[in-house]
């Protein structure tokens, strides 16, 4: 998914109706937003955080210092790790780590839904749709989290809904 398309999805999920235009920069097609009252903003997570503030939903950036830092950490993770690596091996290490992290968590910050969940969901979507039933079961915590976010009101939009089987088929896989 191109960054501009993703940001449009985010705008809709935040309830922003105006619809910004984005240009793309360089070979990595980094999104650029020209704001009316200031210099342009460059970068997916930078613009995303800006949109959240525009929509008056600052709570999506975290409420405490700790939450704020964690949200930004996962946003960085999204653009450096999820977007940066495309080899199968890397993705599996990434899913393994994430699965382990989400073991005791509902959302990335713990108990609160944030922008980190939204952008990680968008970023992982293309990998999760390709997972086999067995893999989905292997990364059980990721699957639970992913399934939860895709059902969060207004987030998924036109993206395909990924099917997760409630009953475990491969009980010995752990």
């Amino acid at each position: 998914m191109a960054a501009a398309a993703e940001l449009s999805l985010l705008e809709k999920s935040l309830g922003l109706n105006k619809g910004n235009k984005y240009s793309a920069q360089g070979e990595r097609q980094i999104p650029v937003l020209q704001t009316n009252n200031g210099p342009s903003l460059t970068g997916l997570t930078t613009i995303a955080a800006h949109l959240v503030k525009q929509a008056n939903k600052e709570y999506l950036l975290g409420s405490t210092a700790e939450e704020k830092a964690i949200v930004q950490q996962w946003l960085e993770y999204r653009v450096t790790q999820v977007d940066g690596h495309s080899s199968k091996n890397d993705i599996h290490t990434l899913l393994k780590d994430l699965n382990s992290y989400l073991e005791d968590k509902v959302y990335l910050t713990g108990y609160n839904f944030t922008l980190a969940d939204i952008l990680l969901y968008y970023g992982l979507h293309r990998f999760i749709v390709d997972l086999t039933v067995q893999e989905k079961e292997k990364y059980l915590n990721v699957s639970r989290w992913f399934c939860h976010i895709q059902h969060y009101p207004g987030i998924r939009q036109h993206l395909s809904s990924v099917v997760f089987i409630k009953n475990r088929l491969y009980t010995n896989s752990h």
């Binding site: 235009k21 240009s23 920069q25 070979e27 990595r28 980094i30 650029v32 020209q34 200031g38 342009s40 903003l41 460059t42 970068g43 997916l44 997570t45 930078t46 955080a49 800006h50 950036l61 210092a65 700790e66 704020k68 830092a69 964690i70 930004q72 950490q73 960085e76 993770y77 653009v79 450096t80 940066g84 290490t93 393994k96 780590d97 382990s100 992290y101 073991e103 713990g110």
Partner: protein
């Protein structure tokens, strides 16, 4: 919470530097672990630094840890910081890891290392200089600065990888690196091993993949194209379409130029050159040429501009010169004033007035200011011990005494200032003084003198500086010099001298004394204006309406920022004081100093004989203008810049644009139908033009010249991509496209001719004549790029603008002017004679150096007493110095000790 760090892991630099921010808000325990330790339970790969929070959560991202510390200190997140941090993670880190890997693991050097990060470094430098803030996200140091500093430190702490031309990055990096938290972090992580401390860590990292897409070339780094919004493009197109009609009417030429209420009135002065010296290139770029660019720019902006300068004619040096040449001082001044005026005329300096200080007006105004100061109690009288040369039968002016500097021990300190440490000296304090004329030792005698009571005026001065400095365009060196003088406290300064050739002191008992140049040279600006117009006070007693810009080299700063303002404030006559003090650093010649006495360097009158046009000299001197740091004139570089920037870039573009109009369209500018690509180019040119304006408004003369060259590079690329010479032979649509490209290109050429006017006035006029640019468009530069050559406009005859400089031509000039290892020219020495040692002497010294070197080595090998070794080392260094002097080389700076 617990912070896990590891030696030799680069990410630990910023987190340690930022950890202090959390002090008082939370307790941070620091644990040192191995770089391969897996601290975070859920991560497969080892990761350091890590912050374990009290909640049990982990922060494993360097930026997130720093961010957390800043958040704890009450800092609020903002878009700009987010943007820098995202850029750091996605762009800078990959580039830096590659560079560090090449450097430390693969042992590569130079461009092989720098190549992968240059673009990122340039990006930071441009951002800093564009937004004109000392820090990345504003006026104060913040999260973004710490994170980027930490990332860059391992590489940039080696000066070889901090390109000098990136001056904004340079000063940002230095500022941060000298702060205590940063210094301590660097100490902890790099353990004084520099970048090599990272070796174990880097060896574990995967080999970086080669940079994609971009082929490595030696061409100047392609300027990153800024991103443009639809609005910006639309605005640029609208402005372009309005064309000539948006130009305001030309201001009628005024004579004399006087300030006008409600307009911007710009008064520009260039430091007054000493009449009895022929100025060298360093003098020319330092003041007159720099001020000229700004004056010309100011006129292009239609600001009401007066640019003045003149020769500083009083003083001992003139008296001596007169004796030497058997003329009266006045005759000497008359003779040399003309030499000066001729040189500046040749360099095309656009003075409104080029006057002189030996006029009745000078006496009148100086004496008036003096009387006012006297009446208000700001003048002291005191007995002074002064050096008198019995042999020459006269008191010695400061510049005619030489001796050992009482502060730093430099052996050739002048009587007023030490060239080495820069401290001001009272001539009697010199150790081992010598009369510079006869070399005999002068005696001390007492005599009465007048002093300006600077301590009494200090408070007023500080108030005025407090009002003036913030937000003004004083160069950093001018601020620094002024503030350091204030910090040391001002002392009364003697303002009289035992001479005849000067402004008489209107006080009983002082009939045989005159004012010292310290006091009256800066008053020269006023008297020169008074000789130009009897309404001079409208410029000089009008601080509300006049913006005063003063240009000089840095050694002149105290006279303009302290002494004259103190006189003017003490005189209480509503004088116009300097609003913007623009000081340059020094220009060196090849690898040494300009030296008239040794005939090294190019002097104003000789530049004409080289056959190189004045505009080329102007261009090159401005291109290397010592802005922010010293720079050096180099013949080879002059050749290179002429052939690459002027001939191949600028000249090539302008010539091609014009030639296409002549050859393909019969000399008439063709119809232009702008495509979105053209509109984008239009907007890029507009953006660069605005950048040029921003820089020149801040008197960043050298940097603004780069904008011109950038636009011309865009233009060349545009022609290259669109190939109008092929399309002209194609279909109707192709021919139309060729027309648009040619039309747009020739309009860019027209714009360049105006932007170039402050720098290369003759070339600018030549281009404008070739293109038949309508008169108002030649003399006004707006902030938008206009279509000044509309379809149907007929241009004149186009011909090449620049000539190639050939290697042998430059080499013979280099020989002639004594470049490189000082070759003494046949030109006779003026005052002092420095004789280069004979070969035998040099050989003898070399032998001694070798001998002494062996003694030191032996002592060291025997592990002899430290003091004994040190004593022998001192002898060795002294011998080496003597040798260097004998060979005519500048002595080597002592190594090992870092300058603070």
């Amino acid at each position: 919470m617990r912070l896990f760090v590891s030696e030799g892991v680069p990410g630990c630099l910023p987190v340690l530097a930022a950890a202090g921010r959390a002090r008082g808000r939370a307790e941070v325990l620091i644990s040192t672990v191995g770089p391969e330790d897996c601290v975070v339970p859920f991560l497969t790969r080892p990761k350091v630094p890590v912050l374990q929070l009290d909640s049990g959560n982990y922060l494993f991202s360097t930026s997130a840890i720093c961010r957390y510390f800043f958040l704890l200190s009450g800092w609020e997140q903002d878009d700009l910081t987010n943007q820098w941090l995202e850029w750091e993670a996605t762009e800078l880190q990959p580039a830096l890891s590659a560079a560090l890997y090449y450097l430390v693991v693969q042992g590569k050097k130079g461009e092989d290392v720098l190549g992968s990060v240059r673009r990122a470094l340039t990006h930071i430098d441009h951002s800093l200089s564009r937004q004109n803030c000392p820090f990345l996200a504003g006026e104060t140091e913040s999260l973004a600065d710490i994170v980027l500093w930490g990332a860059l430190y391992p590489l940039l702490q080696d000066p070889a990888y901090l390109p000098e031309e990136l001056s904004a990055l340079h000063s940002w990096f230095q500022t941060l690196s000298t702060q205590e938290p940063c210094q301590r972090a660097a100490e902890t992580v790099l353990k004084q091993q520099g970048v090599l401390a990272l070796r174990p860590y880097l060896q574990k990292q995967p080999q970086p993949s080669p940079p994609e897409g971009r082929a490595v070339t030696n061409e100047p780094e392609e300027e990153e194209l800024a991103t443009l919004s639809e609005e910006e493009i639309a605005m640029a197109v609208t402005a372009w379409e309005k064309g000539l009609e948006s130009l305001p009417p030309l201001r009628p030429q005024q004579n004399p130029v006087l300030p006008v209420a409600g307009e911007r009135n710009v008064l520009i002065t260039s430091a007054l050159p000493y009449v009895n010296n022929v100025p060298h290139l360093g003098n020319i770029i330092g003041c007159v040429l720099s001020a000229d660019v700004f004056a010309r720019y100011s006129r292009l902006r239609q600001w009401n501009t007066l640019y003045l300068c003149g020769t500083d004619e009083y003083g001992t040096a003139t008296e001596t010169k007169a004796l030497e040449e058997g003329l009266t001082p006045q005759e000497i001044c008359d003779k040399y004033h003309i030499i000066h005026a001729d040189i500046y005329r040749w360099f095309n300096i656009s003075f409104d007035i080029f006057g002189r200080t030996t006029t009745p007006q000078q006496t009148k105004i100086t004496q008036d200011i003096f009387q006012r100061l006297l009446k208000r109690g700001f003048v002291l009288q005191d007995t002074v011990e002064q050096l008198r040369c019995e042999h020459c039968a006269r008191f010695l002016a400061d510049r005619f005494v030489e001796g050992v500097c009482p502060f730093c021990g430099y052996e050739e300190a002048r009587g007023d200032q030490c060239d080495k440490c820069g401290k001001l000296i009272n001539a009697v304090e010199l150790k081992k003084p010598q009369c510079k004329v006869c070399r005999s030792c002068p005696v001390v005698q007492s005599t009465q003198h007048l002093f300006l009571d600077l301590p009494k005026l200090e408070k007023r001065l500080e108030e005025w500086l407090g009002r003036t400095l913030p937000g003004s365009d004083w160069t950093p060196n001018a601020r620094f010099i002024t503030l350091s003088w204030l910090r040391d406290g001002l002392k009364p300064r003697c303002i009289t001298r035992d001479l005849k050739w000067g402004t008489p002191v209107p006080l009983e008992g002082f009939e045989d004394k005159v004012f010292y140049v310290w006091f009256d040279a800066t008053i020269g600006y006023l008297s020169i204006t008074a000789n130009y117009t009897d309404q001079w006070e409208r410029w000089w007693k009008n601080p509300e309406q006049v913006d005063l810009y003063q240009f000089m080299a840095k050694d002149n700063v105290p006279f303009h920022s302290l002494v004259f303002p103190c006189s003017a404030l003490g005189a209480e006559d509503n004088y116009t004081l300097v609003s913007h003090l623009i000081a340059t650093e020094y220009l060196n010649y090849e690898d040494g100093k300009f030296s008239k006495s040794r005939g090294v360097g190019v002097f104003g009158d000789m530049a004409q004989d080289t056959g190189i046009p004045a505009d080329i000299w102007r261009f090159y001197l401005l291109y290397i203008r010592p802005e922010g740091q010293d720079s050096a004139f180099s013949w080879m570089d002059l050749l290179l810049k002429n052939n690459s920037e002027l001939l191949n870039n600028l000249g090539n573009f302008i010539n091609r644009a014009g030639m296409f109009v002549s050859k393909f369209f019969g000399g008439y500018v063709p119809e232009m139908v702008l495509t979105p690509d053209d509109q984008r180019l239009l907007a890029h040119v507009t953006l660069e033009l605005q950048h040029y304006h921003q820089l020149l408004e801040k008197v960043r003369i050298r940097d603004a010249l780069r904008s011109i060259l950038t636009i011309s590079r865009h233009g060349n690329q545009y022609i290259q991509v669109n190939e109008p010479w092929k399309r002209i032979k194609g279909s109707e649509a192709d021919r139309q496209r060729a027309g648009t490209v040619t039309g747009l290109a020739v309009n860019i050429a027209a714009l360049l001719s105006v932007m170039l006017q402050p720098y290369m006035p003759t070339v600018s006029a030549t281009i404008q004549a070739q293109l038949q640019l309508p008169p108002p468009a030649c003399s006004i530069l707006l902030t938008n790029f206009l279509c000044t050559l509309p379809a149907g406009h007929q241009i004149g005859t186009v011909s090449p603008l620049f000539q190639k400089l050939e290697n042998d031509q430059i080499e013979s000039l280099r020989q002639r002017f004594g470049g490189g290892q000082a070759k003494t020219s046949p030109k006779p020495a003026v005052v002092e004679t420095v004789t280069t040692a004979r070969p035998q002497q040099i050989q003898a010294l070399m032998d001694e150096v070798t001998k002494q070197g062996n003694i030191v080595r032996e002592l060291k090998a025997q592990k002899a007493d430290k003091n004994e070794v040190a004593a022998e080392v001192v002898k060795l260094l002294d011998l080496k110095k003597q040798l260097a002097v004998a060979e005519g080389k500048p002595p080597e700076a002592p190594k090992g000790k870092k300058k603070k």
